[in-house]
């Protein structure tokens, strides 16, 4: 018998902890296919009713921003204070607007 020596692919696991909340990253695991990833996610990340819904995503399908792009991506919002309600000074009578 030939041994493949091939590691099962990595999957990222996202869990909705209860109805009304979004799925949140819980961790990762290895599985040969999506069905096994789902079963493993259930056993590894929801042994105590931590979730009502699970997403499993092949890790290699995720495109992530790079820490080097942090300035380019997020700094431009830094000087746009007028996007926040506190930027606007209104008369006391209407300041709870």
């Amino acid at each position: 018998m030939s041994e493949s020596k091939q590691e099962w692919p990595l999957w990222e696991v996202f869990i909705r902890s209860r109805q009304g909340l979004g799925h949140k990253h819980a961790g990762s695991l290895h599985a040969a296919d999506a069905q096994m990833a789902m079963q493993n996610a259930r056993d590894v990340y929801t042994r105590r009713q931590e979730g009502v819904s699970i997403w499993v995503v092949p890790a290699e399908a995720i495109t992530a921003s790079s820490p080097d792009d942090k300035d380019v991506l997020f700094d431009p919002a830094n000087d746009k204070v007028y996007r926040h309600p506190t930027f606007y000074k209104l008369p006391d009578e209407v300041n709870n607007m």
Binding site: S4, E7, G27, A32, D33, M36, D43, R47, P67
Partner: protein, 327 residues
């Protein structure tokens, strides 16, 4: 020698990293980090993962021998949790660039360490009580500060682990309590287990600060928060009244309250034994590692079959899609 090899840019990065960590900020997988920080974390997290997995063995031994269905279900749940802890931690280590296969190979080749406590045998049912109470208790003492560790994935894994550990310690204490309140034979069994597990549990905190090679740097990097001796003292102070409640005696004639220090004094730890077990000469080192290697080898055909099935299914799917589009 390390510094000499670093370029000015790297030195600048390292200074920024140190300042950033000192402000209690978190490092995430793709962030720049010093090589030594990465290596330290890979070593520590993989050792930690191995400890969880090897730690399943001494208790797994008792699942089929538990005295009642309830105890069997509890022990099964606890051992399954330890498997989960191992898996959270392997995943956290993988974010640093090491593969799962590499970590397992290092364990199986005897290159990677795991907690030496799991090289002691579990001889009676009372050991399930002593292990939960003392070994999981000491682990909690070590692990709670790691929830605030500077490396994000490790800290998050530890939060999950710590939430689950509390039941482990409580069920162990309850096993001890039931035995201690039982027949004289049962109480003697509990005392015997305590006698055998007490000192190895104290060793779980690692060598004294003076002999702990990585401690200072790990403290600076916010990987470690308290010294080994500090945590060990806390554990002793916490455990003494618990043993009193059980009506059992901690096997240390030097153990006594020190009013001036506000802590319990305790006897000298046999560090020769500790280093000897780490070197591979503990009562169960060969058995534990042998069991892990056997499980891995016996499972090879399952891993291969699952891979082959996944490949076949993916090909079938692709062909089906192709023919649909062609039609």
């Amino acid at each position: 020698m390390k510094i000499a090899r670093m370029s000015p840019v790297e030195m600048n990065l390292e200074a920024r990293f140190d300042a950033y960590v000192a402000e209690e900020k978190k490092i995430e997988p793709k962030d720049w980090m010093p090589d030594a920080y990465r290596k330290t974390l890979i070593r520590q997290i993989s050792q930690h993962a191995h400890s969880e997995i090897v730690g399943m063995l001494p208790e797994g031994n008792w699942i089929s021998r538990a005295p009642s269905l309830k105890r069997k279900a509890i022990l099964l749940a606890k051992v399954q949790d330890e498997a989960g802890h191992g898996l959270y931690l392997y995943s956290a280590a993988e974010t640093l660039g090491v593969t799962r296969d590499q970590m397992l190979q290092d364990l199986h080749a005897g290159k990677a360490k795991y907690s030496s406590i799991f090289n002691y045998p579990t001889l009676t049912w009372a050991d399930m009580g002593a292990v939960g109470w003392l070994v999981d208790g000491a682990a909690i003492m070590n692990q709670v500060p790691l929830c605030k560790c500077s490396y994000g994935p490790y800290a998050r894994a530890m939060v999950r682990v710590c939430k689950e550990e509390s039941f482990h310690q409580r069920q162990g204490f309850q096993v001890m309590l039931n035995l201690a309140q039982g027949t004289p034979e049962q109480k003697a069994m509990a005392q015997d287990a305590l006698n055998r597990w007490w000192w190895p549990s104290l060793m779980m905190f690692g060598p004294s600060d003076a002999d702990s090679p990585h401690s200072a740097q790990s403290m600076k990097w916010n990987i470690k928060r308290f010294s080994n001796d500090e945590l060990r003292q806390r554990f002793v102070d916490m455990t003494v009244p618990q043993a009193e409640l059980l009506g059992l005696t901690l096997p240390d004639p030097d153990l006594k309250w020190n009013e001036a220090r506000g802590h319990y004094d305790f006897g000298a730890i046999n560090w020769d034994e500790f280093y000897n077990v780490i070197k591979g000469n503990g009562p169960c080192n060969k058995e534990r590692l042998g069991a892990r290697v056997k499980a891995y080898n016996d499972g090879a055909w399952v891993r291969d079959a699952a891979n082959a099935y996944a490949t076949k299914e993916a090909t079938r799917q692709k062909n089906a899609n192709a023919s649909t589009h062609a039609a």
